[in-house]
Subunit: 218 residues, 2 copies
């Protein structure tokens, strides 16, 4: 018997490379999930074309058509519920999630951010990491809460920052890890392995790995 | 011909396990440095006993004997200069370094901090990292500047935070890396390989290592 697949609602505002990676993993059945709907707030979002090409349901709910943020959020929540979404996956979605939206999907909205949170929240984070002179950066899959990139952390990947790095080269190194950990996080939800302990997230059955990295290397 | 050894002035307020690791590495000649003087601001500091046992010059300059912080700093700077110190190494030194002190040793004062800065500056950082639910923490050797743990980063080590971690177990995992990277940073100074590029520190001749870590592991 094929296990029931976790129904994903993906929200995106832009090109959607993280969406593409999730589409690919769903199609290749490397994760037990399926894309129930892709919703964009921007009619030009490349994510809509990716969903179309993959034959997945998609719609644009243009935030400019709504006077109040709450009305926009209500429309998005209704569309997600209509599609039977179980996990809301933000993939470059550039709108703040309102309290009413959070309440509609408690502990069921996740985001990916291209830094090792709590370092470098917000925008332009690879540039900030380079300018700070951090020796490591990475990416973080976290629950969405009322703040900006402040929710409980599910999984992180760390990569070194190299002396010759530009914003582009560091972004590319991090993006490679984003594609791995975002689908992995979705699979952890599909397997029912994500548990909360205060704001510490625990993954049932996860192995301990005590590896360390030093940069610059010894 | 034996190369000239880099003369270190180590400032400590407490037990000094990082001092001990530097003493050991100097004695075993795994670094081209020698301890010119150990200065404590606290007569009970275990670091004084460690210096005594290792036969290295040491003195207590009690900050309580000075009405003004500047006077205390002037006394410390005079003692460091008297000892011919070339690199000032803070090892659990719980006093803020004044501007006059910084000017006396420009880009020659380093500190180690038990987090992956800029995440978790200040005190009780392993507890903060656990409570936040960070998947990675680590330690940072950085130049001291006028702020709290804000100076340019020389070297960092990253370790995973494990589900069962307590403040003690995480601190121990980080401390193991502290002992490695602090002596390594000193050796980079001894070899003249530390260069500034704005606030990005570059290490001449360092190898690139593109390894990544994911926690929890895939």
């Amino acid at each position: 018997m094929t296990p029931k697949k976790l129904r994903l609602g993906v929200l995106a505002s832009g090109g959607g490379t993280n969406l593409q990676s999730i589409i690919d993993n769903c199609q290749q059945q490397t994760i037990d999930a399926e894309i129930a709907v892709v919703i964009c707030n921007n009619p030009d979002a490349g994510a809509l074309a990716r969903a179309e090409k993959a034959g997945r349901p998609h719609l644009c709910i243009n935030h400019r058509d709504f006077k109040q943020r709450e009305d926009f959020d209500r429309a998005v929540v209704a569309a997600l519920q209509e599609a039977g979404v179980e996990l809301v996956v933000l993939a470059g979605f550039m709108r703040i999630i309102s309290a009413a939206f959070l309440e509609a999907f408690p502990q069921r909205i996740i985001n990916i951010h291209p830094s090792l949170l709590p370092a470098f929240p917000g925008l332009h984070v690879q540039k900030k990491a380079l300018e700070y002179g951090a020796r490591f950066s990475g990416c973080t899959v976290h629950f969405v809460d009322g703040g900006v990139d402040t929710g409980p952390i599910i999984i992180q990947a760390v990569v070194p920052v190299l002396d010759g790095d530009t914003e582009e080269s560091l972004s590319a190194r991090i993006l490679q890890q984003e594609h791995m950990i975002y689908s992995h996080a979705i699979q952890l939800f599909a397997e029912g392995r994500v548990q909360m302990n205060g704001r510490r997230v625990q993954i049932k059955g996860a192995q301990d790995n005590q590896s360390a990295l030093i940069n610059p290397p010894l």
